[in-house]
């Protein structure tokens, strides 16, 4: 049976003074998916999220949440099913954490006596009785995350959610995302931390200069983290099969070949053995970040 998508962005575009901050982004998110939304600073992640939630009006295109077209004036209706947090969420400084969460609970017409609320408080151990303006960024972030998840929303949209959290709390956050996923919650999150995205997301959207350039399974980024091989030879050589060429440079008396290798090590060993006049070889781990950079270098829209 086909489920209705939780979220559909159709040709979403936001222009500022004629310049596209987001350019014709289209994607669909199905129930229960955890989708990572990655890109460099200024790529258009936050602008896209702000359009999805009805804070910004798209210059072109539309957002459909739970099967209904979203406009600035009706977005609040869909917010009943949505939790939202950002890494720099402006909470209400004058309140204590507890008062803030009570305010959020009343806005969602729920109680703070629920199991979900208690579990979230136990997990994050926030300083609930201090005024928010006295809390550190990380402690504010814990409260923002509890607020995002406390209503048991069907969809959670997070913009750089773990920035400011210490490694332990970051791990708690990832555990929470996994737990919510098991409960069927759909999560759409932007993040700078690629390992975090690979860890919990099933799918990754890459945005570059406002354009969606990749829509791939998260495993593809993980696999992308193979070995980075750099060889210097006297004669011109071709990279082995299954290698992704990164750089080929002809020097005055040598050739430098750099490629990403994801196949079996023994085949690489065999290929190295065939190289004439091998002068130097370096093999290093290709990190997720580097794999991301490779993907990010793609100019054409693929699978979108």
């Amino acid at each position: 049976m086909l489920h209705q998508p939780v979220l559909e962005a159709k040709n979403l575009t936001k222009l500022y003074n004629g310049v596209a901050a987001v350019n014709a982004a289209s994607f669909t998110i199905q129930p229960g998916e955890i989708v990572g939304f990655v890109g460099l600073n200024g790529a258009g992640k936050s602008t896209t999220i702000n359009m999805l939630l009805g804070f910004l009006k798209p210059s072109h295109g539309e957002v459909i949440l739970f099967g209904k077209h979203v406009s600035l004036s009706n977005a609040a209706t869909s917010h009943q099913k949505i939790g939202f947090a950002t890494g720099d969420m402006a909470l209400f400084d004058d309140m204590t954490g507890r008062q803030y969460l009570h305010f959020i609970a009343r806005a969602y017409k729920i109680s703070t006596q629920t199991d979900t609320y208690q579990q979230l408080v136990e997990k994050f151990e926030p300083q609930l009785d201090k005024k928010i303006n006295t809390l550190s960024r990380g402690n504010k972030q814990k409260i923002a995350l509890i607020a995002a998840f406390m209503s048991d929303p069907e969809l959670v949209i997070l913009d750089e959610p773990s920035s400011g959290l210490d490694p332990l709390m970051q791990q708690h956050f990832l555990d929470l995302v996994r737990q919510q996923s098991e409960k069927g919650t759909t999560i759409f999150m932007s993040s700078h931390y690629l390992n975090e995205v690979i860890d919990v997301c099933s799918r990754i959207l890459l945005i570059k200069n406002g354009k969606l350039v990749k829509d791939i399974p998260a495993s593809e980024l993980e696999i992308g983290a193979g070995k980075l091989v750099r060889v210097v030879t006297k004669a011109k050589v071709s990279p082995p099969t299954a290698a992704e060429l990164i750089e080929y440079e002809k020097r005055s008396d040598s050739y430098v070949l750099q490629f990403l290798y994801k196949d079996k090590a023994i085949r690489l060993q065999a290929w190295l053995g065939t190289l004439p006049n091998l002068q130097d070889v370096t093999i290093s781990d290709h990190s997720a970040e580097a794999a991301f950079e490779d993907l990010y270098a793609v100019q054409e829209v693929e699978n979108v």
Binding site: F55, L72, A90
Partner: protein
């Protein structure tokens, strides 16, 4: 919506307390000065003022009777200045102030419609303006008791209610500009231009002949405090402020749900 109204009032509790006490003190202090002016000792000084400056002190005949003195010296000149400052600070804070801090985005992310946000914040304005007006009246009441005079309660009720209407109308106008535009500079400028422009127009129109033709443009033209103190309430003036409130709210209702919320 009442959740948001309560939050808004709670966040501004010190603002409310400070302004209410301040305006109460203004009312109290001005009232206790009355015996110094009513005895006639100051007549010579006032009559020697150049005509151009007499607009700043009001009608000299009003100084002789307590209702006229309070109408002209508290409500006609001083209170509008402070009330304008209150209106500007309140309306700017509730709109572009919160938006620039990113708190408006936090609010609109919740299942609270933008129109309900407008209503809750406007109700907060109405309540805060009421408390400030009550503060002024209370200060005058205490002042009257201290100087041993008597004053018809209806004088203060009329002046207090009209003051409430005046402050609410001005704050609602600025609130509408802030809600509709989201621009701090525009909102603040609109408030200052209306407040200072009205004050200058109304005070100097009595002495500068060519200004008389434009005095109707003043926000204070519709708040003849001395006449109200004497018992004359022109319902056209009440209607003006009510229409202004309704139109301002309509503008906020129309534009706020259709514009981008600033993302900090």
């Amino acid at each position: 919506m009442f959740n948001l109204l309560y939050k808004t009032l709670r966040e501004r509790r010190y603002f409310i307390l400070g302004w209410s006490l301040g305006l109460a003190f203004l009312g109290f202090a001005m009232t206790t000065f009355f015996p110094s002016f009513s005895g006639g000792q100051i007549d010579g000084l006032l009559t020697s003022l150049p005509p151009a400056l007499q607009g700043l002190v009001g009608n000299l005949q009003d100084w002789k009777q307590l209702p006229g003195y309070i109408g002209s010296q508290v409500f006609d000149i001083r209170l509008p200045i402070f009330a304008s400052i209150l209106s500007i600070l309140l309306a700017v804070g509730l709109t572009v102030g919160e938006e620039n801090k990113g708190q408006l985005r936090t609010l609109v992310a919740l299942p609270i419609s933008r129109r309900k946000i407008i209503i809750a914040k406007w109700l907060a304005i109405v309540i805060i303006c009421f408390i400030a007006s009550v503060g002024t009246v209370f200060g005058i009441e205490v002042g009257v008791a201290v100087i041993g005079e008597t004053l018809d309660q209806m004088v203060l009720v009329r002046l207090g209610l009209f003051t409430w209407l005046l402050i609410t109308a001005l704050a609602t106008l600025i609130f509408a500009v802030g809600s509709a535009s989201g621009k701090r500079s525009l909102t603040t400028a609109a408030g200052i231009i209306v407040a200072i422009g009205s004050f200058l127009l109304t005070t100097f129109a009595q002495s500068v002949s060519w200004l008389k033709d434009y005095e109707w443009l003043s926000f204070l033209h519709y708040f003849p405090a001395s006449d109200i103190a004497r018992g004359t309430v022109e319902w056209g003036n009440v209607l003006f402020y009510i229409i202004l409130v309704v139109v301002s709210l309509a503008i906020a209702f129309l534009f706020f749900p259709r514009r981008d919320v600033k993302v900090v």
